[in-house]
């Protein structure tokens, strides 16, 4: 026994030396030769979820989207959509447990444009199928397939109408989120959409406390402000909105002609119904065109201001990147501004990469952030400009119509519409 203790001490003394070099333990102790019938066991390796399930997921998604389109456009059944919502929580939520969802797939798709990243077939289809359906039938994916939306759908108890200006400002966040997600993916700084996914923790029945709090906050707010994540954060919603705006067909509020009873406008929890346009405008068309001209002339100024403004934030954002923060830490340690070292800086020294290499990599990431944020600023400027131009337009709407961009096709308006379809008239 004592012999071992001495050996142990010697080994502890040499430990310091060993720690600093990556220990590739080359059989310090020989393999034993057993005299008994002992069989050396081999470790078990439990297998991952079968490929079969990936195909099953795609199949269920396709069937779900078709059913949602059927309930929203053909059958006009709010109940059908609601039941589909509940089954989506069960299948895509609790059974499939979230990953990879179409929202997060934006990042994988971004990566697939660069170099050697192989994007799995399932991810391609999870990204593209909801968009295809949006292009033909509107946002039926949001209506009852998206598990994140579904979870918020069932807590809408007392939806309040938000003031219009606030709504317009808040609806800029998804564009910002989308842009930042793409930027973080391109710079290799991580998948922020997944990092701040509020609901995946519920589906997995386990989460970090931050995730749980975020999810609870969204659900609590969701009681009063219907579907807050979908409307004011979801970056995939931006894409779906654009595709849905140009869709061939879309859910209609009324099956026949509108009686302008306003019931649908009150029923819509997300304020996505456009009222009929006023018959008379205060200004003449000439004045309106002049205003539009002046505004369009101002757009370059808006773009440059926002681009410059955003690029000033590049230090804050680039510090979120691990290479950049590690390079900063190493720099502080090398120049003795900080005496201690962190796990990360220790690990970096173990790797024996040259410091200059790290620095140049960090500088490259910083530059990427600078350019990226310039582009993001210009993008946001464009979005704001287009929004203002759209607001300046004078639509010729005679009836209450769903706002194709923002309507989530939940079907409440159909339920509230007092006008009956031809079919039900016949049946009656």
């Amino acid at each position: 026994m004592n012999k071992f203790r001495i050996l142990f001490l010697i080994l502890l003394l040499t430990a310091g030396v060993l720690v600093s070099t990556p220990a590739k333990a080359a059989e310090r102790f020989p393999a034993p030769e057993f005299e008994t019938q002992y069989q050396i066991p081999s470790p078990e390796h439990p297998q991952p979820r079968r490929d079969f399930f990936e195909y099953l997921d795609i199949g269920v998604l396709l069937i779900g989207l078709s059913l949602a389109a059927f309930f929203a456009l053909k059958k006009r059944s709010r109940l059908g959509l609601y039941l589909l919502t509940l089954s989506s929580i069960l299948y895509f939520g609790f059974f499939r447990k979230g990953c990879i969802c179409p929202i997060g797939s934006i990042q994988n798709v971004t990566l697939s444009f660069s170099g050697d990243y192989l994007i799995p077939l399932g991810v391609i289809l999870f990204f593209a199928l909801p968009l295809v359906f949006a292009l033909f039938f509107g946002r039926v994916f949001c209506a009852s397939i998206c598990p994140l939306g579904a979870l918020q759908e069932v807590v809408i108890f007392k939806p309040l109408k938000l003031p219009q200006p606030l709504k317009h400002v808040l609806s800029l966040i998804p564009y910002l989120y989308l842009g930042l997600a793409v930027l973080f993916t391109v710079t290799g700084s991580g998948f922020i959409i997944c990092r701040f996914d509020p609901f995946v923790g519920f589906f997995r029945l386990t989460a970090t406390s931050g995730m749980l709090l975020l999810g609870l906050a969204f659900l609590l707010i969701g009681i009063f402000i219907a579907r807050p994540y979908c409307r004011f954060f979801c970056p995939y919603g931006v894409l779906l909105g654009v595709f849905s705006y140009f869709s061939k067909k879309h859910l209609t509020i009324t099956p026949r002609e509108c009686t302008q009873c306003k019931l649908c406008e009150n029923a819509c929890p997300i304020d996505a119904i456009n009222p009929p346009s006023p018959k008379l405008y205060k200004t003449t068309k000439q004045e309106q065109i002049k205003k539009l001209g002046i505004f369009i002339a101002c757009i370059p100024l808006i773009l440059i201001t926002l681009g410059f403004g955003f690029s000033q934030l590049s230090d804050v954002f680039s510090r979120q990147d691990r290479t950049v923060s590690l390079a900063e830490r190493i720099h502080q340690e090398e120049t003795n501004t900080i005496q201690s070292s962190t796990l990360d800086s220790d690990a970096f020294r173990q790797e024996q990469t040259r410091v200059t290499e790290l620095y140049s990599q960090a500088a490259r990431t910083r530059r990427q952030f600078k350019t990226g944020l310039w582009l993001l600023g210009i993008f946001i400027g464009l979005v704001i400009s287009i929004k203002i131009i759209v607001l300046m337009q004078r639509p010729q709407r005679e009836d209450y119509e769903p706002d194709r961009f923002h309507c989530l096709s939940c079907g409440r308006c159909m339920e509230y519409c007092p006008t009956q379809s031809d079919e039900s008239m016949k049946n009656a």
């Binding site: 333990a25 991952p48 490929d51 192989l118 994007i119």
Partner: protein, 184 residues
């Protein structure tokens, strides 16, 4: 501004054009990606050669306890009596008493095989993936213990939250067909 021939307003015409454009964009995206796609899904794995045994696997995983467990490659094990993965440095006695054990949860279990050999097995239900035993085994032993992601537990997050904080950048995504990176 009505186009009398096909009764389309200008707005409708532009909308229709953009509808087709978006369809074309989406179609070409799917079509080009199909040639670049990986057939089966990808799963997260730890490259044991890069792992620095920092202990973050135990705390950073989205599930608790972590999906990372210690795995024992018996073939490289020396079956030592004084196992540096099993015993606390300076353990008073080489017995299975809790104060002598390195593992905080008693997940590494030892069984006498024959003089002087002992077999060590990991009870994965107890293991939290802290890597204390792995560090001991790699520093002073054969390095037969290593940390690995277990696929029956791993949720296969799109962004692995351990990979995000792994100081050795040891987390890699590999095809599900070849699901396990082994310790050599």
């Amino acid at each position: 501004m009505k186009n009398k021939t096909n009764k389309l307003t200008r707005r409708e015409f532009i909308k229709d054009l953009l509808h087709k454009l978006l369809l074309l964009l989406l179609g070409s995206f799917v079509f080009t990606r199909l040639f670049k796609s990986a057939q089966a899904g990808y799963v997260w794995q730890i490259d044991p050669k890069k792992c620095v045994k920092c202990g973050r696997c135990a705390t950073a995983c989205v599930i608790n306890p972590s999906a990372v467990k210690c795995v024992h490659e018996f073939e490289t094990c020396g079956y030592c009596n004084l196992c540096f993965g099993y015993f606390q440095p300076g353990a008073a006695h080489l017995t299975a008493d809790a104060e002598n054990q390195l593992c905080p949860t008693g997940a590494l279990q030892r069984r006498f095989v024959e003089e002087p050999f002992f077999e060590y097995t990991v009870n994965e239900a107890l293991c939290i993936g802290c890597g204390k035993c792995v560090q001991g085994c790699n520093l002073f032993g054969n390095g037969s213990l290593f940390l690995q992601v277990r696929h029956d537990l791993c949720k296969n997050c799109n962004e692995c939250s351990i990979a995000r904080v792994c100081p050795g950048n040891a987390f890699v995504r590999i095809p599900a067909r070849k699901a396990y990176l082994k310790n050599e």
